[in-house]
């Protein structure tokens, strides 16, 4: 019967459902309410966008090197940012040593670039990634801190600006993820001792505000240490942020672990794989892929939370900009300062978001099961 049947040929879809007209109809003019909302939104954009563009671009002041170059005529004063730009990037890191930061950045970009190129084989990426994780922090630390190999020492209290923000965020992310994974596995462990330990840890750190953690790390912790033992302030903040974010990460990862059907673990067990191999090869690759949005969400939150270190007197990007706006020579340009800060944060966070979306798409392997 199948041979004699010729299917009816496909007809082209109605013109109004495809292309630009179709898109407009579906998205902007699909119902009276939508038409009204579209018109309202267009009106709001009309009254908001031109003044904004005028402030940011057309009436703004770009050239010069003092506040005299910024008459109060309703335009933004980007001179303020330009003059302070180096400071915003490096904080109080000594001028003549800033090449070290630039070198570290160049090394990072050059060695991480292959990870983002699709044609590089996975095996090489894996080795490179692991190498980066293991070796790069050492290279960066030696370059930043100095005191060895003939590099003059730069105390961590001098680190600041975007550099400090990136150091805190980078360390926080690379340490919080693996720690969070271990905590999530521990929380689901069959061993009561490990389970209790992990639950206690997670619930403790999730229960206190990050500001409290930072305060305690800088005010309380020294009280418990023997006299004369001082603990780097930045290091204390790093530990506090890492442990705090690891607790959140653990819950995100646990969500992914719970979504993996029991059959996957049984199939792995039936093949003779042990606990760690089952987790590492079967469960975690799937669970982590599922919770990429949650992980990136936590990363983005972490990135922005780094700005809280200003309350313990570290000069990250946020604090150094804030500091510059209180400079008597440059009073009155806090809007520019905060718009700049917000833009920098936004660029980093938005890139993370886009990268996670492309990662999700690439790791998609068709239907589940």
């Amino acid at each position: 019967m199948a041979e004699s049947h010729t299917p009816h040929p496909d007809l082209p879809p109605p013109v109004s459902t495809i292309g630009v007209p179709g898109w407009l109809r579906r998205n902007l003019f699909s119902s009276p309410l939508n038409i009204a909302l579209t018109i309202l939104a267009a009106y709001l954009l009309y009254i908001a966008i031109p003044p904004l563009l005028r402030w940011v671009f057309w009436d703004a002041h770009w050239r010069g090197d003092s506040r005299a170059d910024c008459p109060a005529d309703g335009g933004a004063c980007w001179v303020f940012i330009r003059v302070h730009f180096e400071q915003f990037m490096y904080g109080f890191y000594p001028d003549e040593q800033r090449w070290r930061v630039k070198t570290a950045l160049a090394v990072l970009i050059l060695s991480a670039a292959p990870l983002f190129i699709r044609s590089v084989p996975g095996k090489i990426k894996m080795r490179l990634g692991l190498g980066l994780l293991a070796v790069y922090p050492v290279i960066a630390f030696v370059l930043f801190k100095g005191g060895v190999l003939g590099l003059p020492a730069v105390d961590t209290s001098k680190w600041g600006g975007l550099l400090l923000t990136l150091v805190i965020a980078g360390v926080g992310m690379t340490a919080a993820l693996p720690l969070g994974v271990l905590l999530a596995l521990g929380r689901r462990s069959q061993l009561p001792a490990i389970q209790t330990l992990c639950v206690t840890f997670i619930e403790f750190w999730r229960g206190v505000p990050l500001i409290t953690v930072l305060f305690m790390s800088s005010v309380m912790l020294p009280l418990f240490l023997p006299a004369g033992v001082s603990f780097d302030k930045l290091l204390r903040a790093l530990i506090g942020i890492t442990l705090f974010q690891a607790a959140y990460m653990a819950e995100v990862v646990r969500g992914g672990l719970q979504a993996i059907p029991k059959g996957q673990i049984e199939a792995a067990a039936a093949l003779g794989l042990g606990y760690w191999k089952t987790m590492g090869l079967i469960v975690l690759p799937q669970a982590l892929k599922l919770v990429i949005p949650g992980i990136v969400n936590t990363f983005i939150a972490l990135f922005k939370d780094t700005s809280l270190v200003l309350i313990i007197g570290l000069f990250d990007l946020m604090n150094i900009v804030h500091n510059a706006t209180t400079n008597p020579d440059w009073l009155g340009f806090s809007t520019e300062g905060y718009v700049f800060t917000a833009t920098v944060y936004w660029l980093f966070c938005f890139s993370m978001s886009r990268y996670s979306q492309s990662l999700e798409k690439r790791l998609h392997t068709g239907h589940k099961r």
């Binding site: 199939a267 093949l271 392997t365 239907h367 099961r369």
Partner: protein, 259 residues
């Protein structure tokens, strides 16, 4: 399926015992799931376990590779008694392949990687060798052309054949099948059963929980009927289907043979 390969033509079995279950009891909380299971399975023997749902069929075979714990009795697999020692359990599992109702392929790995994974990580074979072996078994289940695809891109029947190939890559001495065709469309059942018949012809020791009575008739040496956690009847298929002893078995057979 040709009648010539029916039970009467089975080769005589050796005396080597592969699986021995002695007085196995299991409880889920207060619920007594397995009641005094005694079963001896010899090398190359093929057993079909049938029975109504909830009768403990799956639980019984899942005890053999220790996916389920049991509280009383003992199970010997290829001369080794199952214990609580994780390493020893893993060792037993290497020799016992299992095929699940829902295939349980690893969706993030290709078909080839699914098959080569355990040989590489458990048997410590070099990747090249493991993949060559995986290809060989994929050819045997007649889907070498799908090797680079992901499980999600295959039909149910194809996935189940990959699952069989994946188990075979560990060169198991025993294969357990837990309702391997229950989740399949009727037209795909045959391709999976044919693969299993092929295995049987090669002398694999097999325990199969299934409702495919045609398969039981032609392939099994013994059919075991379970109900509410007990083995009710245990016979060669020709006797089981023509002269069942217990009323419970007769009722069950009349119900499934009507369908």
């Amino acid at each position: 399926m040709p009648e010539s390969s029916s039970a009467s033509a089975h080769k005589p079995l050796s005396d080597q015992v592969m699986i021995q279950m002695e007085g196995v009891h299991k409880w889920y909380g207060a619920f007594h799931v397995l009641k005094n299971i005694n079963l001896t399975i010899r090398k190359s023997e093929r057993i079909v376990i049938c029975g109504p749902s909830g009768s403990g069929k799956s639980t019984t075979i899942r005890c053999i590779n220790r996916l389920e714990e049991y509280q009383r009795g003992r199970i010997m697999v290829d001369g080794q008694e199952l214990s609580n020692d994780v390493k020893q359990i893993e060792q037993v599992r290497r020799e016992v392949g299992m095929v699940f109702q829902h295939f349980n392929l690893f969706p993030h790995l290709t078909v080839l990687e699914n098959c080569a994974l355990a040989p590489i990580w458990v048997r410590k074979l070099p990747r090249k060798q493991a993949e060559a072996m995986a290809m060989q078994y994929l050819e045997r289940v007649k889907i070498p052309e799908q090797a680079r695809k992901y499980p999600g891109q295959l039909s149910g029947g194809q996935q189940q054949r990959v699952a069989i190939a994946r188990s075979l890559c560990m060169s198991p001495k025993i294969m357990l099948f837990d309702e391997p065709t229950s989740a399949l469309d009727p037209e795909m059942i045959k391709e999976v059963l044919d693969t299993m018949i092929g295995l049987a012809e090669d002398g694999m020791t097999m325990i199969c929980v299934t409702h495919e009575m045609g398969f039981a008739k032609t392939v099994a040496h013994r059919v075991i009927f379970m109900d509410s956690g007990e083995i009710i009847e245990e016979k060669p298929p020709e006797e089981f289907f023509t002269h069942p002893e217990s009323e419970r078995t007769k009722l069950f057979l009349s119900q499934i043979l009507h369908n």
